[in-house]
Amino acid sequence: MRAEGLTSLRRVWRDHRRAMWIWAAALAVVTVFYLAFWPMMGEEMAAAIEGMPEGLMAAMGYDRIGTAAGYLEAVIYGLLGPVMLLVYGIGLGGRLIAGQEEDGTLELEFAAPVSRLRIYLERLLGSWLLVATLVVATTVAVLVSGPLFDLGVEPLNVLAASLGLLLLVVGFTTLAFALGAAGARRSAAVGAAAGVAVLAYVFRGVANAAGVEVLGALSPFAWMLDPEPLVHGFEPQSLALLAAISVIAAPLGAWAFARRDLMT
């Protein structure tokens, strides 16, 4: 007899929703808090960056920070959002198969009359759902802050930036998840995904500061931010690149997961 609809997914949600809501509240509070500084910061910022060296400003993404869209990008979409969400997503991705396999709590699910592919897909979907909820919480906080603090950023452009952020975080969550499913220990899967994320972040900084465009082309952070979604809205090509991380990692992980020994 087949498992009832989405049993594993529902369990993942159930096990993680509490912590997730705490993260959601934290993200929303931090977002509103930083955006609340905009009315004061806006003018000062414009003055302050006047004297900064051009290279440094570019590396920090401060060249546009004097505009509302630039401030929102530098503070939320370029830094706080991805850092917090990646910490959460990569940790979750590493835990949902590798971590729970190591602590033994998946043994009965593996022994149940459910195929490995289905376990894999439901758990992956669970991680996406949790991460997506956090991105939604962040986005709502941004949208609410807009009129409150005179950000003057198009709501549609906020959605475009959030979609990029979602695809980025889902990508790295999927990477950690797939590595763990493929047989990496949880610590290795989390370490590798976090390492790649840090590298991607550094690559974009170096690319912007020193003009090394190859590095920018390789960095998912550049894919997400360089099209300036807060100014120009949706840019399908870079969104597709961000989605490609998951689209490539997920099937490879599933393939390896179906073939290996569990619980060793």
């Binding site: 096990d15 043994e107 022994a111 619980m263």
Partner: protein, 316 residues
């Protein structure tokens, strides 16, 4: 003979460089309760995990209900109830919620029996699973393994952590399952735990099957411990060479040995001397097992060499 429910031949499994199973054989027939005995690290859990398709064999043939575990997939596993050797239960869900979750993974099968089984094993379904004692966690494991009334039960050290009362209750449950026609494979370190329910027993050691027999057969082979006290010192060789006499020892006028088979020859030889005292008691199976563990081979006069010596499961 009916087709075996579990048929394992020459199973080899390595963990990296460690060889956990080195050509293990196991044949469990329909409707029998089968004891799977071996010391720590013998390979019991590894074998069981191969049956559940958690591990994939490196060599050898494994079938469960005629299908390789991997081939059989979810449909095959839906016929099996599995109790892991080390059951990890963490999280804030309650025991009842967890059991419902596991029933849901089986399409809801067994859900309606959760309450009744919890009552029988005195498990509080409202407690969070992480707060359960080891014995109570084991109850959750036992309940989830049997609640869907599977055709085959694969139980890895099912009685560990249960107090004597609940061990008894559990063995009672196993008897009921057998009466209903289920086949049961249960592992243990000690024969004592399974001897009252098992029809047959396999003893494994270092990844190989070293002995297979019915519990009665084992009992017969375990033999007796015999002590004879004589009025004067007898000649050791006249007694030690008799058929069925093993490990003879003479201390003063007292002769001691293990005796397998009929006592006739020993009694007649002893009767040529004046016997002033005698004790003969059945060796318990644990003693036989210590021999098997230590020597890694079958003991006793009619020892079946290794595996395959199959007696009907209902020989008792």
């Amino acid at each position: 003979m009916k087709a075996a429910v579990i048929d394992v031949r020459g199973l080899v499994k390595d963990y990296g460089r460690t060889r956990a199973l080195a050509g293990l054989d196991l044949e469990v027939l329909p409707g029998e309760v089968y004891g799977f005995i071996g010391p720590n690290g013998a390979g019991k859990s590894t074998t069981i995990r191969v049956l559940m398709d958690l591990l994939r064999p490196d060599a050898g043939e494994v079938t469960v209900f005629g299908q390789a575990p991997q081939e059989g997939g979810p449909a095959l596993r839906s016929r099996i109830g599995y109790l892991p050797g080390e059951l990890a239960l963490t999280g804030r869900v309650t025991a009842g919620e967890h059991l419902h979750h596991l029933a849901s993974l089986r399409g809801g099968r067994g859900r309606q029996r959760i309450g009744q089984l919890a009552e029988r094993f005195r498990l509080d379904l409202g407690r969070p699973i992480r707060a359960l004692s080891r014995g109570n966690k084991q109850k959750v494991g036992v309940i989830q393994a049997v609640m869907h009334e599977p055709d085959l039960l694969v139980l890895d050290e099912p009685t560990s952590g249960l107090d004597p009362l609940l061990q008894h209750e559990f063995l009672e449950l196993v008897r009921e399952l057998r009466a209903r026609g289920a086949t049961v494979l249960m592992s243990s370190h000690v024969l004592r735990e399974v001897e009252s329910v098992a029809d047959r027993v396999a003893v494994i050691r270092e990844g190989r099957t070293v002995d297979v027999d019915s519990v009665d057969g084992l009992r017969r082979r375990a033999g007796q411990r015999v002590m004879l006290r004589f009025a004067e010192v007898p000649e050791l060789s006249s007694l030690a060479a008799l058929p069925g006499v093993e490990r003879p020892r003479l201390e003063g006028t007292t002769f001691e040995c293990q005796l397998h088979g009929e006592p006739d020859a020993l009694l007649k030889a002893a009767a040529r001397h004046r016997v002033i005292g005698w004790v003969a008691r059945d060796r318990d199976l644990e003693e036989l097992f210590m021999d098997v563990y230590r020597l890694g081979q079958a003991t006793g006069i009619d020892a079946a060499p290794g595996t395959g010596a199959v007696e009907a499961p209902d020989a008792r």
